[in-house]
């Protein structure tokens, strides 16, 4: 018989702290039960890190579970994570410090139950981290409850009659599941039982960490591990339990090995010069110039506007155009869309304020100006107009008469005008021009200069320019009349 493996705890492994200062009580002994696999695996990881000479750039993630205090031991950077979230924390750590070696060390409750989503997503993204998955078929820390990996028929405190697979499902084989994903470069299952398998495990651990040091990708190592306390079996028999009971269900294998390629070299991402950040954020190049506002009839000043039509008429863009022009003429503006469900069902509207003063509510409930692009919009909103307000109607789409007699109606055949110019969809810009021309609130020059800022497709700027001009003329004519 070979000597029980837990004797190795007595030697201080390389890569551990000299004394465990973060631990209360005895600072030389690990906190694990005698015969527990965690300590053995810790030691293998620490030794590999030391041999690879990468401790300085290693970040060890402790999970929730018996290994929650991993940071007592590893002389590396340490982060203690919420239950199951280590792969998410590791993703952040690795991506913000791309030169780091991240180790996500997790139990079966942590990884295969509460953290199943985190591990699968991290594996699927191919995060550069080494995951060590300690499968001891039980929740150790909380006192021996059934885990996703508890064997069929195995008794635990929450399955005292043995795991009933009809009730609890069959144990999850994580390696097999992870192997179906494209990204992982190394997936292996090994065991901390028997000298031969323990030796093999040491090599696999080393391989996974080497793969990290070379920045080759996501590695997943499942380690079948003893929990003498949770199982109620003495340490030597626990190793037997692994070999005889666990291995048949969780076969030992290298499931994936795609490490036979060059790693991705770490290229530091240079921080842009502060003076460049505005450019990168596209905050430059909007210098549209200064535009003087014209003299405006007081009744058209400080308009609170609603713009409405059906989806596809460019209602939001029309509102945006008005706000953009107002801003360019040095006024305060706000634009608020109807969004979400309001936008479905074919109608859309937005609220625009253009004001000499600070704007209070951006929400326009009692508009002074309503731009109605179709009949349902007029019917829905003209009742809200304040007495004496202005409604600009796209009469191409509104056969009915306005019901309000106490407001001003400006009728524009916007869709027809746009159609003549080549595209009925430019009706919105005809409306913009008509409003500007009629009220004098916005200068034609401003409207034209605003177009490149709001019209994304550069090929459409010319059409829209014509539409604005045509609308402006119509509006101006109506004003004089």
């Amino acid at each position: 018989m070979s000597a029980p493996v837990y004797e190795v705890f007595l030697q201080k492994p390389k890569g551990f702290y000299d004394t465990y200062e973060r631990k209360s009580g005895d600072k030389t002994l690990m906190h694990y039960c005698p015969g527990c696999g965690h300590g053995e695996l810790h030691k293998m990881i620490a030794e590999s890190l030391e041999e690879l000479g990468v401790r300085d750039r290693t970040i060890f993630l402790s999970p929730v579970g018996c290994s929650v205090f991993g940071y007592y031991y590893f002389d590396t950077g340490n982060i203690q994570c919420a239950h199951g979230r280590a792969p998410a924390v590791g993703t952040g750590a690795q991506r913000s410090r791309p030169h780091s070696i991240v180790i996500s060390y997790q139990g079966d409750g942590d990884l295969a139950a509460i953290g199943l989503n985190e591990i699968l997503q991290a594996a699927n993204r191919g995060e550069k981290m080494a995951v060590f998955f300690v499968n001891n078929a039980i929740y150790g820390m909380t006192g021996g409850q059934m885990a996703p990996t508890t064997l069929p028929g195995m008794a635990t405190t929450t399955s005292p009659l043995g795991r009933d697979v009809k009730l609890a499902g069959a144990p999850i084989r994580m390696c097999e599941m992870i192997s179906t994903l494209e990204a992982p470069v190394y997936v292996a299952r090994c065991a901390l039982a028997g000298a031969k398998e323990i030796n093999r495990t040491r090599k696999i651990v080393r391989k996974a960490l080497e793969t990290q040091a070379e920045r080759k990708g996501f590695t997943f190592v499942e380690v079948l591990s003893t929990c003498p306390t949770g199982w109620g079996i003495n340490p030597p028999d626990s190793q037997k339990f692994i070999l005889e009971k666990m291995v048949p269900y969780f076969p030992l294998n290298i499931f994936v090995d795609k490490t036979d390629h060059e790693g991705e070299p770490y290229v530091p991402h240079p921080e842009p010069a502060p003076s460049k950040i505005h450019e990168i954020l596209r905050l430059t190049g909007h210098e549209v110039g200064s535009f003087a506002p014209g003299a405006v009839d007081p009744r058209y000043m400080n308009p609170r506007m609603k713009i409405a039509g059906f989806g596809g008429q460019g209602v939001l863009l029309l509102g945006l155009g008005l706000a953009q022009c107002g801003m360019m003429e040095g006024r305060q503006v706000s634009w608020l869309p109807s969004y979400g469900p309001e936008m479905r069902g074919g109608t859309a509207h937005c609220h625009v304020n253009i004001s000499e003063d600070e704007i209070g509510s951006p929400l326009v409930s009692r508009p002074t100006v309503l731009l109605s692009l179709n009949q349902p919009s007029m019917e829905k909103f003209e009742g809200q107009l304040v007495p004496g307000g202005l409604q600009v109607r796209n009469v191409s789409m509104i056969p009915a008469a306005s019901k309000r007699t106490d407001i001003e109606n400006l009728d524009i055949r916007a869709s027809e005008i746009a159609d003549k110019l080549g595209n009925p969809r430019a009706a919105n810009m005809v409306m913009l021009g008509a409003y500007a021309g009629y009220t004098g609130m916005l200068q034609l020059e401003t409207c034209l200069a605003a177009l490149p800022e709001i019209v994304k497709k550069k090929t459409l700027v010319e059409l829209n320019r014509k539409a604005v001009e045509a609308g402006y003329e119509e509006g101006k004519k109506a004003r004089k009349a």
Binding site: Q80, I101, L283, M327, V333, S361
Partner: protein
């Protein structure tokens, strides 16, 4: 007379001193503000009405349902003293509710929704400019106090477009000697929220409370409108404060002595200022897009010295200025002596 659309911003980086405002969505202003504040990583998940923040990239943002999920992480960050900035663009709840604006997550955000003895500073922007400026302030506060900081906006402030003048980037925040930077200098560092011994954890919690007290002393922000001589004080934040501004203006024109107090930080809450106002005013009203959550902070601040009424809308309805004006008129009448 030519008017200048540009606004003067003192520039030290060779950027034009006169900067043109840009018409931009609130959510986008948060993103750009975050990057100007030095954020270089963003971890998020799309949710209306906060999606633009995820689409545009750089901290974390979500809305009610997602913020509920983030509570675990926020509590851990508070415990481990990790600075981070979390934006929530509040929508209708509970449950999936809807995507229209509400302020129903006040308690979740301000009173904290995670476990443990912690608080998070909360900034409540009310305009596009503030979406940028307060995001930048949030980063500085998070960094200075090593704490998660929240930005609590609503669907309207997130979706609304207003002109924003973007300031210079913040010079790089100081390097963190406590972080795990994966280098020799920080190898001995530990990020953890575990303090096993009761005395240690109590001391840690006392340390956190001292920090929150300092934040309460130094970081309060609020703004006021027509508060001089106000016998009736209306209190509202975010989009509601914008509606109230209009309502107060209209009410003053009718001769009602009303003024607006707008908390810009929800924690720390402008307690002292409210207490002062409670000596001058006879009555207060809080207006919220909720069932009345901030009102408790107002009542606590003034120790119920004067009556505090509440007017709220829910489900995504935002009261109009006229609606608020009616409430103000009624209160003025009932108040009699106002």
């Amino acid at each position: 007379m030519a008017q200048d659309a540009g606004t003067n911003v003192k520039g030290a980086l060779g950027l034009p001193a006169k900067r043109t405002p840009i018409l931009i969505k609130g959510n986008d202003a948060i993103v750009k503000g975050a990057i100007l504040a030095g954020a270089r990583s963003y971890f998020g998940y799309p949710i209306t009405p906060a999606s633009e923040i995820a689409e545009t990239a750089s901290r974390t943002a979500s809305s009610g349902p997602g913020i509920s999920l983030k509570q675990e992480g926020i509590s851990y960050c508070a415990g481990a003293e990790l600075p981070c900035v979390i934006a929530t663009i509040m929508r209708g709840g509970p449950g999936l509710g809807n995507i229209a604006p509400e302020q129903s997550d006040y308690n979740q955000v301000v009173r904290i929704g995670g476990h443990g003895n912690y608080r998070t500073p909360v900034y409540a922007p009310a305009s596009g400019q503030e979406m940028c400026d307060l995001t930048m302030a949030a980063f500085e506060t998070a960094d200075r106090y090593r704490t998660p900081v929240m930005i609590a906006a609503d669907g309207f402030t997130g979706q609304m477009m207003e002109p924003v003048v973007f300031p210079d980037p913040i010079p790089a925040l100081p390097e963190k000697d406590w972080a795990t930077r994966a280098d020799a200098a920080t190898r001995r560092n530990l990020i953890s929220s575990i303090f096993l011994e009761p005395d240690e954890l109590e001391e840690h919690n006392r340390h956190l409370q001292r920090k929150y007290k300092e934040i309460e002393e130094k970081e309060v922000r609020f703004s006021e409108y027509m508060i001089d001589g106000a016998k009736l004080v209306v209190v509202g934040y975010g989009i509601v404060s914008r509606v109230l501004r209009t309502a107060v203006h209209l009410a003053r024109e009718e001769g009602i002595p009303v003024g607006l107090l707008r908390p810009i930080t929800l924690f720390p809450f402008p307690k002292k200022r409210l207490e002062e106002l409670a000596r001058q005013a006879k009555r207060m009203i809080t207006f919220e897009l909720s069932n009345g959550q901030m009102i408790e902070d107002v009542r606590l601040s003034i120790h119920d010295r004067i009556p505090v009424d509440f007017y709220g809308r829910m489900g995504g309805n935002v009261p109009s200025a006229e609606e608020c004006l009616d409430v103000i008129r009624r209160a003025a009448k009932e108040g009699g002596t106002l």
